[in-house]
Symmetry: C2
Subunit: 349 residues, 2 copies
């Protein structure tokens, strides 16, 4: 079973704050890592998460600077560290021109940089999943949300039915589950109907958007922007952003299982945003930087928000047993720094 | 008497680390704020220092991305916050082209952006001080260090000499000290010789450099890069950088009062770099992000390194009395973050 988890690398919007970095989310899906958006400072946030450089795809929602300006410096850092693994950037039309303009920052790269401009509704097919570009409503230029759609999983195997049909438990059970016919028994005789894969949707920046409601239908997690509170509805409309209440309405209409609000402005506390959304849609969370959402298979339970602080508490205990560098350093030479400095892991203590 | 202090906003080099951001130093000089270099992520580091946007000049040493890539995003943030105060960028020839290329990031600005390309050895004259561009040795393109040179101060007033010449203590003392002749007594009769102002020099990135030794002669503080340890001497030479030992030799030859090493690579701990330099030049410090150096008038004592952690301890006490937002937030809604998140001030606890 493939683990699927979202790591919120930066949860602010437009302008960073001391609490919230600019937009970036890492999706860890089995052995793969995908980055969605990459605002200024993302490379350092990734280092603090212990996830720097571990991905080969970056999906950019649109070209407002807070969503991509972390890329050129990160490419330069990869070059300085002599990365060899190819990296592919995906985004709306214009991506190639933008990155060529930015090559003044990163110069020649020692690895292959792919630049893929997606058309609205185009899908990137991967082994076991696809990522679809959803056209959203954020000004005149094309802006995307993205839906990560896991392929259908085989139905549930019924061991009693198989034994009833004369199959001996053991290897033959496995062969049936992998789609082989065994002694005349066909897989569909002992397997339930295919089960839907999981789905995670990122809104990018957008006004409330019908295409997103459709794409998010029964998603396990919808990560939606909530740049404004409802008191600023008019301003949200003018700037093609959403209020927390509007994001919650999208989540409700799409019947998603969990709504995670992000792109939080420095105007608001996470609590204000959360409380407003929960009036409409109770399964709402407002992750902070370094928080994680584990997306379980539906039959295992709902997606779960894990605070970075909780993970750090666990990891910190382990790392200290192995000899925390901060504890080994003499206090007069390199005193202990706050957690994000002292540990290789995550920030919150 | 004007306060002169350096705030180390980012002390890493080339690639950020969890501990060290990319190069940036704020100089606070009386009521003015000057920023020297501005790597990616500087705007957020400045927010954590409580110094975001409080300056009207940025001096760029050279055009490797780690020294300027924080500017375009910061300009965008200023625009979003509707800054009106003009901002002037200074740097080597090429600054204008670079910033025009980067305008794809920040678009139209609601404030005046000045772009001033300096010639080697050119000075920017300000009220009471000057900033001189020092040509340093960092590859083929022009790279600068900068010397901030305070104007000479008047000599010391001798009240006994004045009384001896028939001047009555009070207003007339002040008039003499401000350069007026009083009852036939000329200021030079009662004032000592002019006293040298303070001097702070930034090396930028450079191999050991004669021009820097000359410019740094008897400087109060020399902020010098130390990208490598001496074991990597050959690599330092190839990349036109300095080792910690070489930086210390510059400081020794220039007879500076305090050497502050920066542009520290993730390869080394601050302690290694410091110990190597101190073998050559004992008055060496290796500031961390958010540390401060107070530059006193020479007769008041040497420049002093103040750890961010010490300042935070003082400020934290005060801010909590005023009602720390982290303490007011209910634990289940917006739990207390690590110090750099919880406080408006600096990072280290």
């Amino acid at each position: 079973m493939d683990e699927l988890a979202l790591f919120f690398v930066g949860t602010g919007g437009s302008v960073p704050t001391p609490r919230r970095g600019l937009p970036a989310v890492v999706v860890r899906f089995g052995g793969e890592r995908l980055l969605f958006d990459c605002g200024e400072g993302t490379q350092r946030q990734l280092m603090q998460l212990g996830m720097f450089g571990e991905f080969e795809s970056i999906f950019i929602t649109h070209f407002h600077a807070d969503h991509w300006l972390g890329i050129p410096g990160m490419l330069k850092s990869f070059a300085l560290r002599e990365r060899e693994q190819p990296l592919t950037l995906y985004g709306p039309r214009g991506l190639g021109d933008l990155m060529r303009t930015m090559s003044v920052v990163y110069g020649r790269l020692p690895f292959e940089l792919g630049l893929v401009e997606l058309e609205p509704a185009q899908s990137v097919e991967r082994d076991g999943y696809a990522i679809a570009a959803i056209p959203v409503a954020h000004g005149e230029r094309t802006a995307f949300g993205y839906a990560l759609i896991e392929a259908d999983r085989p139905g549930e195997f019924d061991p009693r039915a198989a034994e009833h049909l004369g199959i001996t438990p053991g290897e033959d059970f496995g062969r049936l589950q992998h789609g082989e016919t065994v002694d005349g028994v066909r897989p569909e005789q002992v397997m339930g109907p295919p089960r839907e894969g999981r789905k995670v949707v990122f809104s990018g920046d957008t006004a409330p958007c019908g295409a997103l409601v459709v794409a998010s239908h029964r998603a396990d997690v919808l990560v939606h922007e909530a740049t404004f509170a409802d008191a600023e509805l008019e301003r949200a409309r003018e700037t093609s952003h959403s209020t927390a209440r509007q994001a919650a309405e999208v989540a409700r209409d799409a019947e998603v299982r969990l709504l995670a609000l992000t792109h939080i402005s420095s105007r608001y506390s996470g609590r204000e945003v959360r409380d407003e959304a929960r009036e409409v849609f109770s399964a709402t969370e407002v992750p902070r930087d370094f928080d994680e959402i584990e997306v379980l298979f539906p039959e295992r339970g709902p997606a779960v928000l894990v605070r970075g602080s909780e993970r750090e508490a666990r990891a910190g205990g382990r790392s200290r047993q192995k000899g925390d560098p901060a504890e080994l350093a003499p206090a007069d030479a390199e005193p202990v720094q706050p957690p994000e400095h002292a540990h290789e892991g995550i920030t919150s203590p």
